[in-house]
Symmetry: C2
Subunit: 423 residues, 2 copies
């Protein structure tokens, strides 16, 4: 291994999580320990900002701010859903790739840890391959993040533990409320959580269940096609036995024909996926119509992935460690890997970080195994619970000011541009 | 004043709050200090359970459980929306009233603190009047609770501080998330909060705004009819200036004609009010159609009023004090009052409890003064902020177990029934 001296550029991509900034802090604090890393830059809004040469000088930030990132939600550098799409727009993508390497060269970027989910790991992979092809010495490693927990090869994803901790507490609290109100006519509450095709978040709500009669009573996961008559019968039986019923439903729930029960095809996101809304609303209507029961809905939406006021300390610690590991791997000469979390022991829970080639990650979706659900598919089973339980342990301590969290913002001192604007 | 020896019956009514159990703990702990109160009973599910003679023996509960109530959401005794409706069903109501006094007499109930909102204070008032008419020595006092903050004569209501603390933090966190994602096309997020006709909860979100550019950018309150073109222009201008826009909307938002923009008249609650849903969804559609902007929604629903994991310590302390004050007033011979919170000093915030005749409370709704909003009506102003800021101070410490809150449940040892079943 040759020591590579130069600058580090870090950026964030995709939907934020409660701990994506903890990974950023991990990158920055580790980078500060190595003399071969001269400057530490942040790219604003992921690849999109980097293409516009929008870089900030992290060494101008206060140490207190960097430490505060470990408990601050959102993505402090800004993020994007921009894709280098060589399939649909090969010429634009090729031009963008050229531009990226011009930027890297102009600022002597030699280290590029990229924090993101599936699409972002794909971008990191392409940049790594291009660096090799172009003979430009660059160490690119991905830092995983996603509340969806759908990245392959890693035991779990930073961001996931915090979202299920928040969802679990929310389910517990709503159950206390609805259970107290369930007098005569039975009350049903449907809580819609994120998760387009993987049901990891919905499944995580099961951790709220300490006793068999505790909520959640039913969990509807996108992996398991909805059998509506069976579902309605489960709701009916639960209310009959228990006076109320709490259902957690993943937004991407599908029917037996494979169609999302609440897809609104008129609205598409930047990747062309249908914007989903209303799985819970849809089911509430079905329950009211068929069972003559009150059914209210909660849609946690962005609140769940941003809930840093109740983030998992285990998750935040792992997120920071993944950031640090990406830098250490690069220092040691590695490029083209995603940092992964490796479970060394289940009880007591022990973990470490590892590296997985980026080529193994891109566009592979890690879904929940069918045998982690009960036979009827309405709840995750002990295998899942054993897996998920350690991920929510501990609470991140958040600084408070006037009764509300004191989150940090980067000062964002701009790095002088060296290139003409993007064409 | 004559010392009145007998038993105390406490019950909870209406929608739970994060601190309604703190009021219950306040009642129980204060009652335990007075020898003239012999037994402490809890009525299950408010008046409804009392009519069925469903009483529990609170002295069988562990002290640890009673203390744990101070940080437990829901209503530990169960609650109801049952109404003694002398207008619509005079015969049933009269029969129920007779039954209540049979129960009181059978169990020598002489103290009846009733914890609830507007309708519950009305019930307490009727029972107080009947006790006087019947010459049955009973001291009935109301303990206020409501997230809606719409009870008159009290400076604010227990339950309100906690809900706006949670909503404020949630707005702050969603803003960090959405702000980070707002790259090219601008992003709008609408957060729907509770509040049928009073906009207190929506208004409270303004506490998240530390800088003029901070979220929330617009707050839509049911007190102020929606001027849709002006609203859309505000959203457009906010996104143009700020790249993103966070809107908080009260579920009961009305249009200029006075109609709720999202009322679903096909679903009614126990009091015959339309079940509201979808104000945020409705506005999101209007924004997307008119401004071609992405607009996502969050509907906090029951999560906001049950969020004991982030309750206000000020609120919980005041809630417990209101419970204790109701008992002390009764011991001192008072009956027919609601405990109220009195602000003795704004800065530093100092408060005490007082008493207001129940006849002044029932069916009077305390709405936000128009001059607590800005001239254009899209945000509360400094008058509101000064009022609301102290109410969210401090955090209730919640016991944790395995990464989730450890809330308590009453053991509910039943008091032997002495009467035949309700006819």
């Amino acid at each position: 291994m040759t020591e590579l001296t130069g600058n580090l550029l870090v950026a964030q991509s995709g939907g934020p999580t409660a701990v994506i900034n903890a990974s950023l802090a991990g990158v920055i604090q580790e980078a500060g320990r190595h003399e071969c890393i001269e400057e530490i830059y942040g790219g604003l809004n992921g690849i999109l900002g980097i293409l516009n040469e929008e870089l900030i000088d992290i060494n101008e930030e206060k140490s207190r701010t960097i430490e505060g990132l470990k408990s601050t939600p959102g993505a402090a550098l800004g993020t994007c859903r921009f894709k280098l799409d060589f399939k649909k727009k090969p010429e634009t993508a090729a031009r963008d790739m050229d531009r990226l390497f011009e930027i890297f060269a102009a600022h002597n970027i030699r280290y590029f840890p990229y924090i993101g989910g599936n699409d972002s790991q794909d971008t990191a992979h392409k940049i790594h391959e291009q660096a090799v092809v172009r003979g430009y010495e660059l160490r690119v490693n991905g830092v995983p993040k996603t509340i969806d927990n759908d990245l392959p090869h890693t035991d779990h994803c930073p961001g996931y533990g915090s979202v299920i901790k928040y969802v679990g507490a929310t389910v517990m609290e709503i159950a206390a409320d609805v259970g107290a109100m369930a007098t005569d006519d039975g009350a049903c509450c449907l809580i819609e959580v994120m998760g387009r095709s993987a049901g990891w978040i919905a499944a995580g709500a099961v951790l709220a269940k300490r006793q068999p009669t505790d909520a959640p009573h039913l969990i509807l996961s996108p992996e398991i096609p909805l059998d509506e008559p069976a579902f309605l019968e489960q709701v009916r039986a639960t209310v009959a036995a228990n006076k109320y019923c709490i259902v957690v439903v993943g937004e991407g729930l599908r029917n037996a024909a494979g169609a999302e029960i609440a897809a609104d095809s008129s609205r598409l996101d930047a990747f062309g996926h249908a914007v989903l809304s209303g799985a819970a609303e849809h089911l509430a209507e079905r329950i009211t119509e068929n069972l003559k029961l009150k059914a209210r809905t909660v849609k946690l939406g962005y609140a769940q992935r941003a809930a840093a006021h109740f983030a998992s300390l285990t998750d935040a610690t792992e997120a920071a460690a993944c950031g640090a590991a990406a830098v250490r791997a690069a220092i040691e000469g590695q490029s083209g890997f995603m940092v992964k979390l490796v479970r060394e022991s289940a009880a007591p829970y022990q973990w470490t970080t590892g590296l997985q080639p980026l080529g193994d990650i891109a566009n592979v979706e890690h879904r929940m195994p069918r045998d982690w659900f009960t036979a009827d598919g309405f709840l995750p089973n002990e295998k899942f619970i054993e897996y998920a339980r350690p991920l929510i342990e501990g609470e991140v301590k958040v600084a408070m000011e006037g009764g509300l969290p004191r989150y940090v913002e980067l000062a964002k001192s701009r790095v002088e541009k060296k290139l003409p604007p993007r064409g």
